[in-house]
Symmetry: C2
Subunit: 579 residues, 2 copies
Amino acid sequence: MGLLRIALGQIDTTVGDLDGNAAKVLASVEAAKEQQADLVVFPELALCGYPPEDLLLKPHFLRDCRRALDGLAAQCRGMCLLLGFPDTAKGKVYNAAALIHDQRILAVYRKLELPNYGVFDEKRYFTPGSGCLVFEVNGVRVFVTICEDVWVEGGTAERYAEKNHAHVVVNLSASPFHAGKLATRRDVLAGFARRTGAFVCYANLVGGQDELVFDGGSLVLGPDGGLIASAERFQEDLLVADIEGDAGSEATHPRQMSGRWGRRIAIQSEHASGRVAAPPRVAPPLDRVAETYHALVLGTRDYVRKNGFSRVAIGLSGGIDSALTAAIAVDALGETNVIGVTMPSQFTSGETLSDAALLACNLRIPLITLPIKPIFAAYMDTLSDTFGPDPPGLAGENLQARIRGNLLMALSNRFGWLVLTTGNKSETAVGYCTLYGDTAGGFAVIKDVPKTLVYELAEFVNRTAQRNVIPRGILERPPTAELRPDQKDEDSLPPYAVLDPILRAYVEEDKAADEIAAEGADLGRVREVIRMVDRSEYKRRQAPPGVKITPKAFGRDRRLPITNRFGNGRAGAAKAPAT
Amino acid sequence: MGLLRIALGQIDTTVGDLDGNAAKVLASVEAAKEQQADLVVFPELALCGYPPEDLLLKPHFLRDCRRALDGLAAQCRGMCLLLGFPDTAKGKVYNAAALIHDQRILAVYRKLELPNYGVFDEKRYFTPGSGCLVFEVNGVRVFVTICEDVWVEGGTAERYAEKNHAHVVVNLSASPFHAGKLATRRDVLAGFARRTGAFVCYANLVGGQDELVFDGGSLVLGPDGGLIASAERFQEDLLVADIEGDAGSEATHPRQMSGRWGRRIAIQSEHASGRVAAPPRVAPPLDRVAETYHALVLGTRDYVRKNGFSRVAIGLSGGIDSALTAAIAVDALGETNVIGVTMPSQFTSGETLSDAALLACNLRIPLITLPIKPIFAAYMDTLSDTFGPDPPGLAGENLQARIRGNLLMALSNRFGWLVLTTGNKSETAVGYCTLYGDTAGGFAVIKDVPKTLVYELAEFVNRTAQRNVIPRGILERPPTAELRPDQKDEDSLPPYAVLDPILRAYVEEDKAADEIAAEGADLGRVREVIRMVDRSEYKRRQAPPGVKITPKAFGRDRRLPITNRFGNGRAGAAKAPAT
């Protein structure tokens, strides 16, 4: 009866950085070797990063991936690993896993189930595989799957695993985060374990890639679905666990269902003798608010750093959105890499100004003050003939926001700082924002965070710090854009406690107006909200990327046409505003 | 031996406008009835518009489509038509065609082949069909296909058509335009006709939808692949053609390969007796530059109007890009609906200013002049402490472009004009543009037009008008952004005649640097261009939509990650600039 010491190499890869990713794989392999592991499993497409998108349409990218795989295999002396990479044959591309042992690629498994929904476009690139890969390490039978393969109940992978008497099912994964996803994932994996009677070893990617955050949290589950070990979330980790083989596993030959490798692959590990047991490790759980916060921090850190920036600038309005964004940025990048900018106008109150200063002081970040009144006056002067004597109205409000956007971008151009924008999901949804104004910047940290959750996250920041890093005044003042005298968000929008559930039902759950009203909201109000969401599509299309933390984010997750006359809440032609 | 008079209803639908689209269908049905047609064929998904994207994920959208289909069928007395709509059954969605005859839906065909490449995401939404639909009108056997079905050589539709002895193959299509596409399409359809020995009647969509233009040009081809009739391009049309049945067609029963409708469908038209022959009509061909120009006009007109705007504003720099954009806008919307805005700075030359004025005069559009110098001075004054004594450099250049963007958006906000941006594909590719500056606006008319083609289109405008609508000075002056003294595009970029072929090879053909250099370009220069393209991805992500006219446009056609360290021409980490 053999014993398999498995290591799950939860690494933070960068899309396209073949050399950098290979170096991370090798470092994990070395660390696993030190812990006398027999097999190291890496995430899906770990060699090239996930998702590589249309890089997969470039033949030279695929050639370079293959070269990098061969080069990496040659450096893996005496170790056995499973590594995700894009495999090619006869003009087709596969989402694949290479089984590498002692400098040789023994076999390649090709993903059977290709997700093509939500943020996934795998059918754009990949051909599904048709076979399975089973091999033995120290007599323990290991069955290989990639991500979606185990999400299809009663699917091909499950049938193959059963027929092959899999003892351990490994899953190479790149499963994007949203709040609550871990529980779903555990349920799915536990179901697969119970139905196949196998251990499940799940190696997930960690790190941010444009709008996606991969949260790690790699897992080992028993055949009963129970948790044996789990890795840290939102950081790199190497999770090691011992799995004992069953008595019968060596007796039965694996049956290859189809595919290229009909031969039996039996590996005897060099590290199996004389080692002491590795006690299983379980990472502490995180609640919904905590995991969301960590996702925002990691997504921001990785976007900024992987794109070659070190410092960021944030416009601090004295409101809660910019306060939370700044707190996240400080956690992501350190206080020396965050610059606050306050840009008061004639409508900025003394309280918001002093709260912005207090926030910067609490976060220990510098604060640059750039009043916008003289610039605004210059614009109004230039436009006076064309505009005529009437007050500028919305045009004047948007102009203030756009002056601020320009000032931030001027700092960005001059000093190389990436501008972080501060809009939340509620605003983004209804278009309560100024294109090229408060939406101007490189990364929209909280664009997928509904306003009600912004408050919860701000309280989390203060609770974690055990002091009011975000001043109470900011938490307690009614939300306002301060673009005209005594303006309040609630003049233009329903209260956020009413708005957010309507938005969730419409945006994330695709419900119709009457269905949403049936849940208790006022039908007229629901229709008005839907109308605002629909007519703001053009603004979202020009918005910067930001971290997905809900089941359906704006962006690649939700692909609505701009030109679109469908809508329960709309009468007649769609008039998209110009702002 | 029967005769089939077929009408192809080439209509310009709007996505989501179920009532409006149904009204267009009914109007075409009436027109076809007047011409004594037996069968009217409409484009793919004509009922809901194409592509509906994630509207297809909304159950209430699908329900409304079904309701609209039933309502429409009830109004089609005494007529036979084929209409594209999204069909649903058991939680699945199909890209389908309804056969409607005399107020009843006789059968539904479901598309077999689902494109999931380029701009297409059909596997995100649809399940492929499994059967075929054959029916007889006046004894002539008609076989139904939808778009991609006929693009797969030797595919299922082709086999079914042969086995069913199709006499006429109809194709409901929504085939997006790019320059040269019509010839490809005719080759594909002619091949299908020859291989199956059937007439091919191809009904294409016409009109603009966000980034796509559907060019119409519906066709009737003979069994030898020869052209019998063709509809106008870039406008609505009803193409009528008579097709004689073969002697044997009434003798053989159609064999249903699979699917729900095993019964024989034989329709006798009310209009078949006593009519005179309809002479086939062939639309005149358009050359590459002409068809591109018409695509830009139609795409602009439909984007503006379908989104509820009537007037547009364009910043006229005195350069060729804005001149061409303005000429297109005038052709699309009429001279009374286009407003030129010139925004001179200290770097604007007298020639460019007077050329802008001359252009506006030639186009008969008003010209608003808004000098930017005082606003620029106000910004510089505000930033002086932070920037210090050094000249502002790139930050100052971008600021000028952003002031212009703000002024245009202020006019937009105040007067409800949509801002058209003027950047071409060469600039967009290498990032030679200012985010929130010259990229600020609702629609980017020529974003997919390489600079060398901009010149050809400008000459086309003058040739067509038989006068220099676009002043010769604009055509002959070396391109310049005029953001610093004596600036020329060629200070920063290779000459466009060198740049454009490199861009086509890299962006549209996915070639590697060494492959492009092997075609004659300097390897160092190729690498530098690739580096510029890769690092500008974040800018393109925030750019407005514009008309696709090449085989691969930026946008849904080309999906590259922003965070991306892969690249032949790059050394080390990717540093995305902040502009």
